[in-house]
Amino acid sequence: MLPEWAKKTERYEPDGDRDAFAARSLLRVLEVLTALRAQAGRRQRGGADACLALTVIIILGIVAARTTAFLWAVLGGELVILCFLPGVVLRRRLALSLVAAGFCLLLILPAWLLWGPGPYLLLPLRTFLTVTALSLLQERFSWHELTGALRRFHVPQELIFLLDTTLRYLLLLGEQASELLTALHLRSIGHNRHKGSTLTSIIGILLQRAHRLSLTMDEAMRCRGFTGSYPPAAAARSARAYLLPAGLFLLYGYLFLALEGLWR
C-alpha cells in the first residue's frame, strides 16, 4: 500500500534560472581544450623555424607597406594556402580573421566618419592579413614545434620556458576548469543567487591547484635532470622543407622592395 504522498503527481518545475554564464564559460573552456588537444597528436612536419621567420618577415612587410600593391600580393598568397585547408578548418580560420578585421573596422569607423577616407582604411586589411598569416602558421605547426623553433632565433630561454609551461598548463587547468564547471552545472538545481561568488570560488580552486601543480612540476623537473636550458630544435632532415619558405621569402622580399620603390 503506497502512502498518500507517493500517490500524488509531482510537477517539479525549477525556476527559470539564468545559467548562461556557466554554460558559456564551459563552452569556451571546452573550445580551447579541443584546440589544444587537436595539436597533441600532430605529426612533426619540419621547417617550423623557416616558416616562423617567413611569417614574421611578412607581417613586418604588411605593417610597413605604404602602398596597397604589396598587401594584395600577400592576400593572393594567403588565399591560395587557405584553399588547401579542409572546409571546416578553413571556415574557422577565415571567421577568426574576418572577426578581427571587422573589429578593427569598428575601431576606425569614427575616424572615417569624421575625417573621411585616409590611409587608416587599410588597417582592417592589414589586420586580416596578419591574423590569417599567424592562423596559417598555427594550423601547420604544433605549438611545441613553434616554441622549439623560437630557440633557433636566440629567444631567451626564460621566455620559452614561460611560454611552454603556459601552454601545458592551459591544457591541465582547462580540463580541471571544465570538470568544475560541469559539476557546478549539474548541482545547480533551482535558483542560484550567488553566481558571482560561485565563479570566483572556481577560479580560487584553480589557483590552489595551479600552485600544487607547479610544485609537483618543479620536483619532477629536478628528478629528470632538467637544467633549465632548451636545446635548439634540430633542423629539418630534408632541404625540401626549406624550399617553399625560401622561395616565398625571395618572392615577397623582391615584391616589397620593388613595390615600395626601394629597388631601383
Binding site: T68, W72, G76, L82, P86, G87, V88, L90, L259
Partner: protein
C-alpha cells in the same frame, strides 16, 4: 558578353534580377540534393575555370574582343543547376572585385551566362549524346553544346541591349541607356560569337573535357569526387597564361565606358551624343578594375587577379560544402 553598368535601365536590371531569384533558389536546392558534399570544392575549381576562361580575351577584326565562358563544361561535369550556381558566383566575384560586368546588371549577366548558356548547352549535349556514344562523340557533343550555349547567351544579351532604345528615351528621342537598337546589337554581337568566340568556347570546353577524360575520368561520374589534382594543375597553368588575354587590346562589344563609346568612330561619333543614363548613372569603383592592380605591371596584376579570383571561388565552395555536410568534412 558582360553587360556593364548603365547599359540596361534599372527597371530592366530589376526584372532580370527578379527572374533569376527562383532560378538561384532552385539551383541551391538541386545542388544540395544532387551534388555530393565532397564534390563541392571541385565545383569551386570548375567555377574558377569559368572565371579564368573569361580572362582570356580574343581579338576580333574591328577592335572588339570576346571570351569563352565555360558554362557548358561545368554543366557536363556537375549538372546544369550546379553550373548555374558556379557561373553566378564567378560573375559575382568578377563584378564585385574586378568591375567586369555591372553590379546592377548582375541579374542580367547571370540570366545570359549562368542560366541560358549552361542549360541550352547541356540540353544540346544530352540530345547529341544519345547518338554519339563514344569518347570522341562525347567531345563532339560537348563542343556542339558549348557553341549553341554561348550563341544563345549572346543573342539574349543582344536582345537586352537592343530593346533599351525602344523602351527608354528622353523628350528629344535620344536613348537613355544602350543606344543601339536590335538591328545593330544583334548582328554586332552574333558576328563575333558565331565565329571566333563560339570557336573559342568549343576549344575551351572540348579541350578541358578531353584533359579530364584522360587524367581524372572519375570526375565524370556523378557519385565520385576524385582528388581533382589534375584540375588544380590545369588551373595553375591557366593562371600563369592569363596575361595572354592582355594581348587583345580592345574592349568587347557593348562593354565600353561612356568615353570609349564616344570615341568609337562607327558607333559613338555617328550617334552624336552620350546617353544621359550612361553619363550620370550608377557608378561603382571595383578594387581591381579590369583585373589590374595599382602600381603593379599589367601582366603581374593580371596574374594576381587570377590567383585571387580563383582562390576566392575555391574557398567559397569549400565553405559552402562544410555547411552542407559537416561530418564528411571533419572526417576529411
Amino acid at each position: 558578353m558582360h553587360i556593364p553598368e548603365n547599359y540596361l535601365s534599372p527597371s530592366t536590371c530589376a526584372v532580370m534580377g527578379a527572374a533569376m531569384l527562383p532560378v538561384w533558389y532552385m539551383a541551391v536546392a538541386k545542388v544540395r540534393k544532387q551534388v555530393p558534399a565532397e564534390k563541392m570544392p571541385l565545383l569551386g575549381i570548375a567555377a574558377a575555370f569559368s572565371f579564368l576562361g573569361m580572362m582570356f580575351n580574343i581579338p576580333l577584326p574591328g577592335g572588339t574582343t570576346g571570351h569563352a565562358v565555360g558554362g557548358t563544361l561545368i554543366a557536363i561535369l556537375f549538372g546544369p543547376w550546379a553550373a548555374c550556381l558556379a557561373v553566378s558566383v564567378a560573375l559575382f566575384i568578377q563584378a564585385l572585385f574586378f568591375g567586369d560586368g555591372g553590379i546592377l546588371a548582375f541579374g542580367a549577366n547571370c540570366f545570359n551566362m549562368a542560366f541560358v548558356l549552361p542549360f541550352a548547352g547541356y540540353a544540346v549535349y544530352r540530345l547529341l549524346r544519345q547518338k554519339l556514344t563514344s569518347a570522341r562523340g562525347n567531345l563532339i557533343a560537348a563542343g556542339a553544346g558549348a557553341y549553341v550555349g554561348i550563341n544563345l547567351a549572346a543573342l539574349c544579351a543582344a536582345i537586352e541591349f537592343g530593346v533599351q532604345p525602344l523602351l527608354f528615351t528622353d523628350a528629344a528621342g535620344h536613348a537613355l541607356y544602350c543606344p543601339y537598337p536590335l538591328w545593330i546589337s544583334v548582328p554586332a554581337m552574333m558576328a563575333g560569337h558565331l565565329t571566333l568566340f563560339g570557336l573559342a568556347e568549343i576549344i575551351f570546353t572540348s579541350g578541358v573535357l578531353a584533359y579530364v577524360q584522360r587524367t581524372s575520368p572519375e570526375l565524370l561520374r556523378a557519385d565520385r569526387a576524385g582528388s581533382g589534382k589534375s584540375l588544380y594543375a590545369l588551373a595553375a597553368a591557366l593562371i600563369v597564361c592569363t596575361p595572354l588575354g592582355l594581348l587583345a587590346a580592345g574592349t568587347a562589344w557593348g562593354e565600353w565606358d561612356p568615353e570609349e563609346l564616344a570615341g568609337q568612330d562607327f558607333l559613338g561619333q555617328v550617334l552624336g551624343y552620350t546617353p544621359a543614363g550612361m553619363e550620370n548613372g550608377f557608378s561603382y569603383e571595383a578594387l581591381f578594375p579590369d583585373y589590374s592592380v595599382t602600381a603593379l605591371p599589367d601582366a603581374f596584376g593580371y596574374i594576381l587577379s587570377a590567383v585571387i579570383g580563383t582562390a576566392l571561388l575555391v574557398i567559397i565552395f569549400k565553405v559552402l560544402a562544410s555547411f552542407l555536410a559537416p561530418r564528411v568534412q571533419e572526417q576529411a
